[in-house]
Structures are given as structure tokens and as C-alpha cells.
């Protein structure tokens, strides 16, 4: 085979001759790394620009992955370098998944894992369709002033910090108005008969059965307006002639929605849906930390907060195996999350020729 690279058939003389271009190709091949080096030196400014960003990611995104080794190691209060700690294999994973004789951590881990999944699943179920509906409604509003006012109002909660949002929830739902025993929103819910007086006074945030509802409703309050931007942009991109054609065929409003609008924004919907499925296990822990309390761990604890509590982050002091458990729990959560992202991205590429990354 090697020979055929060098010899080509020459029609004029009817014999095989040496390919003159192959010498050049060989030269390039031989000096491949030299050429690479030359290109890098020519574009040295580009690499210089890249270096600070790479360093930041290396130091504070990739170096933590080294500490993740702790999930295979025995936590040691004296030896802080994970590399030198004793290797225990998958012991922490075993304890978390199957339980062990010496600790009762396994049910707590499964509870956290289940809560993580349920919080994001309900977020997908209720939080995903709402922005689409909001965008459809925005499309009906022809007056520019009215639409701008409504848009400004509905986008606004997205810009509030988690602390401000959770403080408002805590104050308005249960802490405010201590003489009435409950905040103004609980009072309204009591007034319209959604909850009874005892429940309102006991505080909705103290009762595990309300945590998920509070989490989802505040999530919709925060994001539905802002998330509708993408869908609204897709809807206004539809050409008016499509509507006219549908009207000619006698399509009513609902038929226009069904046969004109939805097919046109379907690709946007699919892409956004896949993105959401991809991030199904990455629940923001800040909101949970700010809203939950020991009474509501039953429904509120997610894997990240489980890791924070047992792993000794900040004020929490980890005892014994806690650090290993915390790392192992997050390791599992994040690996499954990564598989979901990659799977969702692959499906997106196959289905619509659109790759998210």
C-alpha cells in the first residue's frame, strides 16, 4: 500500500512514475508539529487572549473535580489532600444506595434524590407550558403600549435575587403580620377558602405538603414572563400571509392556533423542551436552602442540600463519613445529569439538525 502513495500511473509513457506532489505531502507530514507551532506563534495574540479565561476555568471549575476524588476516599480530618487519604472504593456509594449496618443514611439519600427529581419534573410539567401560553397571549395584544407595559411587568420578577424572592415569600406567606398569625397571601388564600385557618396560622412553610406547591408557583411567578421571550420571538416571525391563507380556508382562531402557530414554533418548543430535560437534575440549591427548614426536609431536601449538610460546607460541621457521602451523592446526581444532557443533545441533533452546544 505504501508504494501506491508514491507511484502514479502515467498515461503518456504507460509506466508508473513517482508522484511529485507526494514529496511535498511527506514534507508537510514530517513537519506537522512544526507547522502547528508556527501557526500558534503567528496567532500568539489569540492564545494570549484565551489564557486568562482558561486559567479561571481550570482553577475554579476543573480543580474541584480533583477534590471529587473524595467520594472514593476515607474522609480524614488531618490529611486534607484527598490523594493521600485511604482508598475505600465504592463504599460510600454502597452505603448511600443500599444502606449499611452502621448508618441510616440511605433512606435520607433516596429521599433527597426523589425530591430533586420531583421538583424538576413538576417544574417541567407546569413551568414549561406556561411561557408558551403567555407568548400566545402576548401575540393577541396588538397595541404596542399595552404589550410593552405587560411585558415589563411580567419580566420583572426574573431580575429579583433569590434572597429577595424568598424573603418576600417568607414575609407574605407566613412571617408578616404577627398579630394575625400569617402573612397577607395566606390570609387571602384563607379568605377564598383554599386553606383553613389552622393551616394558615401554622405557617405554610412549616408544613412539608405545601413546599412543592410554593416552590413551583414561585418558580412560575419568577420565570414565566421572561421565558416567554423566546417563544414570542418565534411567533412574531410567522409571516402574516400564513394567517391570511388559513382565514381564506375558513379557519377560526382555534384552527389557526392548531394549524399555523403551533407548527411554526414547534422547533423552538422541541429545543427548549430538550434543554429542560437535560437540566432535569440540576435544581438550584440556593432557593431550597433559603426556603426549607428541618420540618420540611421530607419534601424539600435535594441532593445538593443533602451534600451541603453532611459534607460540612460552611457552618455545617461534617462528622465522620459525611464528606465522603456528600461527594458521592453529588457525584451520582451530576453523572446522571450529564448523561441526560448528552442524551438530550444527541436527540436534538438527530431530530432537528440543531445542536445545542
Amino acid at each position: 500500500m505504501q508504494v501506491s502513495d508514491y507511484l502514479i500511473f502515467d498515461k503518456e509513457s504507460g509506466t508508473y512514475i513517482e508522484d511529485p506532489e507526494q514529496a511535498v505531502r511527506d514534507d508537510v507530514e514530517k513537519h506537522h508539529w512544526l507547522n502547528v507551532l508556527r501557526t500558534i506563534l503567528r496567532d500568539w495574540r489569540l492564545y494570549l487572549m484565551l489564557i486568562p479565561m482558561i486559567l479561571v476555568f481550570l482553577f475554579w471549575r476543573y480543580f474541584p473535580m480533583y477534590d471529587l476524588l473524595g467520594c472514593f476516599k476515607m474522609p480524614d480530618p488531618i490529611e486534607t489532600n484527598v490523594w493521600n487519604q485511604d482508598y475505600v472504593g465504592f463504599a460510600h456509594f454502597n452505603t448511600l444506595i443500599f444502606g449499611s449496618d452502621t448508618s441510616s443514611i440511605s433512606p435520607e439519600f433516596w429521599r433527597a434524590f426523589r425530591n430533586t427529581f420531583l421538583l424538576s419534573f413538576y417544574g417541567l410539567l407546569f413551568g414549561f407550558p406556561t411561557p408558551i401560553i403567555v407568548a400566545l397571549f402576548f401575540n393577541e395584544i396588538r397595541s404596542n403600549i399595552a404589550r410593552s407595559v405587560l411585558q415589563v411587568a411580567t419580566y420583572l420578577p426574573k431580575f429579583m435575587s433569590t434572597v429577595v424572592m424568598t424573603s418576600l415569600i417568607i414575609m407574605l406567606v407566613q412571617q408578616g403580620g404577627q398579630m394575625q398569625g400569617c402573612g397577607v397571601i395566606s390570609q387571602m388564600l384563607e379568605f377564598i377558602g383554599a386553606i383553613d385557618h389552622e393551616t394558615a396560622v401554622a405557617g405554610l412553610l412549616n408544613q412539608p405538603q405545601f413546599f412543592r406547591a410554593i416552590y413551583q408557583i414561585s418558580g412560575i411567578w419568577e420565570g414565566a414572563g421572561y421565558d416567554s421571550i423566546v417563544f414570542f420571538a418565534a411567533i412574531i416571525a410567522i409571516s402574516p400571509t400564513s394567517y391570511e391563507a388559513a382565514q381564506m380556508d375558513g379557519a377560526g382562531k382555534m384552527a389557526q392556533m392548531r394549524y399555523v402557530v403551533l407548527p411554526s414554533i414547534l422547533s423552538t418548543i422541541v429545543i427548549m423542551l430538550i434543554t429542560r430535560i437535560g437540566s432535569l437534575l440540576s435544581i438550584g440549591y440556593e432557593k431550597v436552602i433559603l426556603l426549607y427548614k428541618p420540618d420540611t426536609y421530607q419534601t424539600a431536601e435535594v441532593v445538593s442540600t443533602f451534600a451541603i449538610r453532611y459534607g460540612g460546607v460552611g457552618e455545617n460541621r461534617s462528622s465522620g463519613l459525611g464528606k465522603g457521602w456528600g461527594s458521592a451523592a453529588e457525584m451520582m446526581n451530576n453523572v446522571v445529569g450529564m448523561l441526560l444532557v448528552i442524551g438530550a443533545n444527541t436527540i436534538a441533533r438527530k431530530a432537528s439538525d440543531v445542536s445545542l452546544y
Binding site: 487572549m49 471529587l68 408578616g176 420571538a233
Partner: protein
Amino acid sequence: MKRKLEISELIFKIISYTLLTMFAICCLYPFIYTISASISGYEAVIYNQVILLPKDVQFKAFTSMFNDNMFWNSYTNTLFLTFYGTIWELVLSILGAYALSKKRLMFRKGFNFFLVFTMWFSAGTVPQYLNYLDTQKVFNTIGITDDKWLVVLAMGMAAMNIILLRNAFEGVPSEIEEAAIVDGATEMQVLWRVYIPMSKSIIATVSLFFALSRWNGYYWAKTMMENSFEHPLMVYIRNTLEIYQDSERSEGLIKDNAYAPDSMIYAMIICSIIPILIIYPFIQKYFAKGVNAGGVK
């Protein structure tokens, strides 16, 4: 036929207007309530008499907050973190995104993967915390004892924003760049004179995201800053709320019965969102454009 069509359209329009208006009111209500409650009298607040409009108007909650040195201290800290944090992230992201947008960059795919992988997989809170502790130690040994710089330099930097910027830079026509190079422009001049002016809306959007995440940052700032004089505003608000929830300690919050302790918390919340409300209208026209331009590619 024609008639029926108009009726269905009208009904749908009415439903849209009503539901959207209701949603907008729901979005705004907590803020309006917050403003009203912060300037209402003691009894009106603790008996929940404020529903929409303020009652027994007083401004003592605001004046006592303005006299609180710790509040101003935390406000300055937040301004510091937001200002330097946004600049730091913006400079690094623009430089990096510009380099990544160049097709001639060697190992371009590798660098992209390096970024994108952090979106797929993160180490999690425990390793991140250990890493920040190590960083703190390193910073202390080289003489940076102020934890503010740890928060500014080490936190933030989201790969998603860099990818948004990279996509925007890739959209700039290469003819313009070539013309600039023929005129003798250097790499930095091309970036500064061609790419940045041509991607204004996405840069505005991304800097808004940076500034917001810095302004709103809470958890790591709270965890990594042990000195309460370094705490940013969000941590201060949360700490005040926790003091208020703890009934034994909450007596310290009010001097007399001129205002309810609730009003104090509401007043802080208002002060923390005012800067966002001021910038928001100016930048809103950019971000609708920016989100759509860079969103999915």
C-alpha cells in the same frame, strides 16, 4: 362565516387581555405590597390591614435604615463586588470568546469542549467548597487577605455567556475584519473597533447577566466571608430576616413602636432592587434582541 370568525377572535382576544393583565398584576403585587407595607404604621402592618395601599404613612423605617452603618457597609460591598466582578467577567469573556470565534485558532474544538464540559458536569458543592478554601489559603499567602477578591475573581464565569458572545462574534462578517486588517489594524484594534461595536446588543445583555448575578449573589459570599463587615447586601438582608424570625432576638430591630419590624425588612428589599429598576428600562430593548440572537445555535 365571516361573522363567526370575528366572534371567536374577539373572545380569544378578551381572554388574552384578561389573563395577561391578571398575571401582570400577580407579578407586580408583591412589590406594590412591599412598598406600601414599608411606609405603613406599626399597627396597620402587624394586623395585616395593609392590602394594597399604605395606611398611617410613616418614613421612620427608611430613616432608621439609612442611619444603620451596617446597611451602608453592605451596600458598598455589593457595589464593589458588582463593579469589579462584572468588569472581570466581561473582559475575560470577551477576550476568550473573540479567540474562540476565530476559525483559524488551533485546537478550537478542544477549547470549546473545555468550556462546554463545565456546563454538563460540575463537581458539586462539597468539592467546590474545598476548592474555595484552598484558594482562600493561597490568596492569604500571597497577601490578599480580603475575601472580597476571592468572590470577585473565583466565582461567576458561566460558560453559557461565553458561548453567547462567541456565537455573536461568529456572526460578524469576515469582510469587515479583512478590510480593517488591510488598513493596518492590529488584533486588539479589530476586536475593539469592529467586533465590540457590532455586537453591542449581545454584550449589553451579557453584561446585564453578569451584573445581576453579582448583585444577587448570596450563597458562596455568605459561606466564604466570615467577617460580617465584608458581607454584601443580600447576606445582610437574609441575616436581618433570620433575626426577625427568631422572636427572642427580634426586639433589637425596633427602638419604639413607630414602625413594625416587617417594614424594616421591606425597606431593605426596596433599596436592594432600586438599582435594578433604574437600569432595567435602558437595557430591556437590548436583551430581548440579545436573547434571541444568541439563544440557540
